[in-house]
Symmetry: C2
């Protein structure tokens, strides 16, 4: 069972089923499952909601509908309101990222409601007064009003990320070790001399450039194999389909560094 | 001019104008302004897009439409692809939060494209191959496919937050200093004795409870004034509308601590 199941998303008097559906999908994306609507005023039927929920239709079906905010949050030990406005009661506001660790902690011992206001009118003052925590989502000062479904997504996303369960699926190939990196550079030096990309007297200088590029770009053993393959192929091509020998350098020193 | 103006949001063959409109609003929320569509396939006309853009209609009007991804990103020094799939080319993926500092840095010296794939089919392999960076948005393993507009919002939000320009508008009242906190506790002790909430012999113990609650709840000078007002009013009420005197304690010691 996901840690996120201790969180309840509460929507106050939502107007558009499309938003509710998008919220179901966002909740499912982030591992949330408890959705309660307070006195919904849906004006567009539920078809759009089902469409935007996509594979989270079950969550949409299982939504709870209640008449009042008090009823929606009665069993919650924390009630987190989201607001873009300042004013009475609205001074103690933090960003979702700032609140996330504390809310996750609280959610280990009780249910936590995230309360979102009306599309057209946000939360009323008496609703804000019922909140134990207030969230303000960072925005540009030019346009502070965020779409309801986007606001829910950002809050769920911040909690999910703070929960720390997600890791980007790792690189399958292990990181290239130093010895392999050295072999790559040695081979590359030989190849660049062989194809006449650089002369011996400039080789150290040019190799610094390759070293810089490879240090950033060649991360894994697979990466190193690819670039070593390039060098070997260059050596082969420079040898004109015969076994590779050091080419006659233009300066005549004949020694490969 | 916002730092975010160095970023370009590129949508590949978007299907739904509602998503494009919601993306315009999300971009405006986070201070972005450069939107390019590659070969849009809009199936629902542009009415829904205008509706969902709300106050970002200008951004929607100013969108650029081009025929190919190459054209869309020709002047960009970094091309950041978003992908929920793994596979060829897709190993070097980080979360938007992990990439954000580097991308902001890159954006000080050149244009950065954030490329989002089709609603129905994401990015093709040859499009992923054109990307210098790959992003994967953290999601639950149960439902990894995020709505296009939500994906754009999360990426823009992460860059905006990493930009560090947003601060939650501060508490107007300064934090309560220690001396004021002490006055509050002294006054509260007197008041709680006066109204008979506690007796002198239990006062130290009970005051620990108030101290704990006030340390968490009374943060600002305004908070402290409110709670001192409560104490003063209690003392007044206990004095029955006369000047307050210490009440006769039940135990008879008569001394207020």
């Amino acid at each position: 069972m996901s840690r996120m199941n201790a969180f309840r998303i509460v929507l106050i008097e939502p107007l558009y089923s499309g938003n509710v559906g998008a919220i179901c999908r966002a909740m499912a994306n982030m591992g949330f499952s408890d959705l309660t609507l307070v006195a919904p005023r849906i004006v567009d039927g539920w078809e759009e909601g089902g469409k935007l929920a996509v594979h989270a239709g079950g969550l949409l079906q299982r939504r709870r509908e209640v008449a009042t905010l008090d009823e929606a949050v009665a069993d919650c030990t924390a009630v987190v309101g989201t607001t873009a406005r300042l004013g009475l009661y609205r001074q103690h506001v933090r960003t979702p990222r700032e609140w996330a660790p504390e809310l996750l902690q609280t959610a280990t011992r009780g249910r936590v409601a995230l309360v979102f206001g009306r599309e057209d009118n946000g939360l009323e003052n008496d609703e804000v007064a019922r909140c134990t925590h207030l969230i303000r989502i960072p925005t540009s000062t030019d346009y502070v009003s965020i779409n309801l479904a986007q606001a829910v997504m950002i809050c769920c996303y911040e909690l999910f990320v703070a929960g720390g369960v997600f890791e980007v699926p790792g690189e399958k190939s292990p990181p290239a070790p130093a010895a392999q990196r050295n072999r790559l550079l040695t081979l590359w030096r030989q190849a660049m001399l062989a194809i006449g990309f650089m002369h011996e007297e400039k080789a150290d200088h040019m190799m610094q450039g390759f070293q810089r590029i490879f240090s950033r770009g060649v991360k894994s053993e697979d990466d190193a194999h690819i670039m070593m393959g390039v060098a070997r192929q260059s050596l082969w091509a420079a040898g004109h389909n015969t076994r590779w020998r050091p080419p006659e350098p233009p300066g005549g020193s004949g020694v490969i560094g």
